[in-house]
């Protein structure tokens, strides 16, 4: 029962979010100043909100045809990865320095999702080796070849 209805509930939530954003954008475009700069956003927002309402109505009625939603199993397995990603992008990259953060997140992600056993030394060696190689390639490409100066705050 709940399995059957899960995608439908999810669709309602998802299209509800889109509709909420649409409504908010519409509200902003009609209230912000200067009005002439918001002419085009108003036009878009109006179409946006109408389409979003239509999609939302379809989701409530259970008429949605495309999109499989996110299964609980898939959701649970992606959470750790997404958390690492968020920490990496929004905190570590700037605070620890790009190369440190990249190496660390690369290593953690690879270890988290690597199917090789977690209790064998050999597979850990492999992971460390891959991390070092990747960091070096990134350094060579971006720092040496392209001369991009990335944040190097606390660590390298």
């Amino acid at each position: 029962m709940s399995d059957l209805n899960l995608p439908r509930v999810q669709h309602v939530v998802a299209s509800g979010c889109v509709l909420a954003v649409g409504a908010w954008v519409t509200y902003l475009s009609y209230t912000q100043q200067p009005a002439e700069a918001f002419l085009f956003p108003r036009l878009i927002a109006t179409v946006f909100v109408v389409l979003a309402a239509w999609t939302f109505a379809k989701a409530i009625m259970g008429w949605t045809k495309v999109g499989a939603g996110v299964s609980p199993i898939a959701f649970m397995s992606m959470v750790p990865g997404v958390v690492v990603m968020l920490v990496y992008v929004f905190w570590a990259a700037k605070t620890l320095g790009f190369y440190t953060a990249t190496a660390a997140s690369f290593f953690i992600l690879f270890s988290l999702y690597d199917p090789a056993p977690h209790n064998a030394l050999k597979s850990w060696m492999k992971r460390v080796f891959a991390t070092v190689c990747f960091t070096l390639v990134m350094y060579g490409l971006f720092a040496l070849l392209l001369k991009v100066f990335t944040p190097r705050e606390a660590l390298f």
């Binding site: 070092v132 070096l136 350094y139 720092a143 040496l144 001369k147 100066f149 190097r152 390298f156």
Partner: protein, 322 residues
């Protein structure tokens, strides 16, 4: 092979670690970044790349300068970034365009004004010119003025955006001639504004002297007047607006130069203010600038400070009525 790589990496890390050591005596000890608030390939970007090309020489800064483009909204995006987000450590410079950034700060809606930045030196001065298509019926400034007076608000005139040099020139023309133009700001800078003139989308245009000079060489436009105090060496045959009877001074001349965000250590500012003008005087720089049709006007930090203040005054007055 792997050993080699690892060794190389270690050496690199060591080198980078050393480069991190601080202190202003050794400034600069790593490459410097210069923000240009217009897109790659624009006149400001092009000139910025030329004037900084010798920065790596021993007699200049001794470190290369890399150009970082942050285009958008007539320069507002880049200068906002420089004023609020860039680190004031001397490794982030910015290119300024006067009167653009001053006019925008007077108009409001941005997080900078002349007190947000410290000028270093000026490298170029690019006057605004009035251009019309090669097959236009206008042959002199007088023709344009006559038409604009007879048809208020009908003379479509393109320019690179609102509250940039071109717009200032248009406003000054309107004020001096007591007439009304239809100023059309284009997205995509001077090149798009020039295209509109050549393609006949608009009847006239205000553009950079350097770009107009090139377009005239290619036989695409006629240049009717220069908005400056005297005629320009690149265009000795083109009269100034004043000669043509419009009281337009040099307030719209696009001065380009280098600045740093406020809060940069005084020692660094002094070092830059001393070195950068000599860098602009380099023979190779001068040669390339001349070849590219870009008029130079080297000014020191003190001269630029005075120029900024003067512009601030003129522009406040001009924009007061808007």
């Amino acid at each position: 092979m792997k050993k080699l790589l690892a060794g190389a990496a270690l050496a690199l890390m060591a080198a980078a670690g050393m480069a991190h050591a601080d202190g202003h005596e050794s400034y600069p000890d790593r490459p410097i970044m210069m923000m240009v608030s217009y897109g790659a390939g624009g006149a400001t970007d092009f000139q910025a790349r030329i004037v900084t090309m010798t920065a790596g020489n021993e007699d200049a800064l001794g470190m290369p300068v890399a150009i970082l483009n942050k285009p958008g909204a007539g320069g507002r995006v880049g200068w906002n970034w420089l004023a609020t987000q860039a680190e004031a450590d001397g490794y982030t410079l910015g290119a300024y365009n006067v009167p653009h950034f001053i006019a925008q700060s007077i108009k409001g809606g941005v997080s900078y004004d002349i007190d947000s930045f410290e000028p270093i030196a000026n490298w170029g001065a690019d006057p605004a010119v009035l251009v019309v298509g090669a097959d236009s019926e206008f042959n002199s400034l007088q023709d344009v003025v006559d038409f604009a007076k007879a048809n208020p608000g009908k003379l479509t005139t393109s320019g690179a955006g609102l509250f940039v040099g071109h717009h200032i020139a248009a406003l000054q023309m309107e004020k001096a001639g007591d007439m009304k133009l239809a100023y059309i700001p284009t997205k995509g800078g001077g090149a798009a504004a020039m295209k509109a003139v050549i393609a006949g989308d608009v009847m006239a245009g205000i553009n950079n002297l350097s770009d107009a000079f090139r377009a005239r060489e290619a036989g695409n436009v006629k240049i009717l007047a220069v908005a400056d105090l005297e005629r320009n060496e690149f265009l000795p045959d083109v009269p100034t607006m004043m000669e043509g009877g419009l009281d337009v001074d040099n307030a719209s001349v696009n001065f380009r130069g280098v600045m740093v965000p406020k809060g940069t250590p005084q020692a660094v500012i002094d070092k830059l203010a001393q070195t950068v003008p000599t860098m602009f005087e380099n023979g190779r720089v001068q040669g390339k600038m001349k070849a590219g049709g870009s008029p130079m006007n080297i000014m020191t930090r003190e001269e630029v400070q005075a120029m900024w203040l003067k512009r601030q005054e003129t522009l406040t007055e001009l924009l007061a009525g808007l």
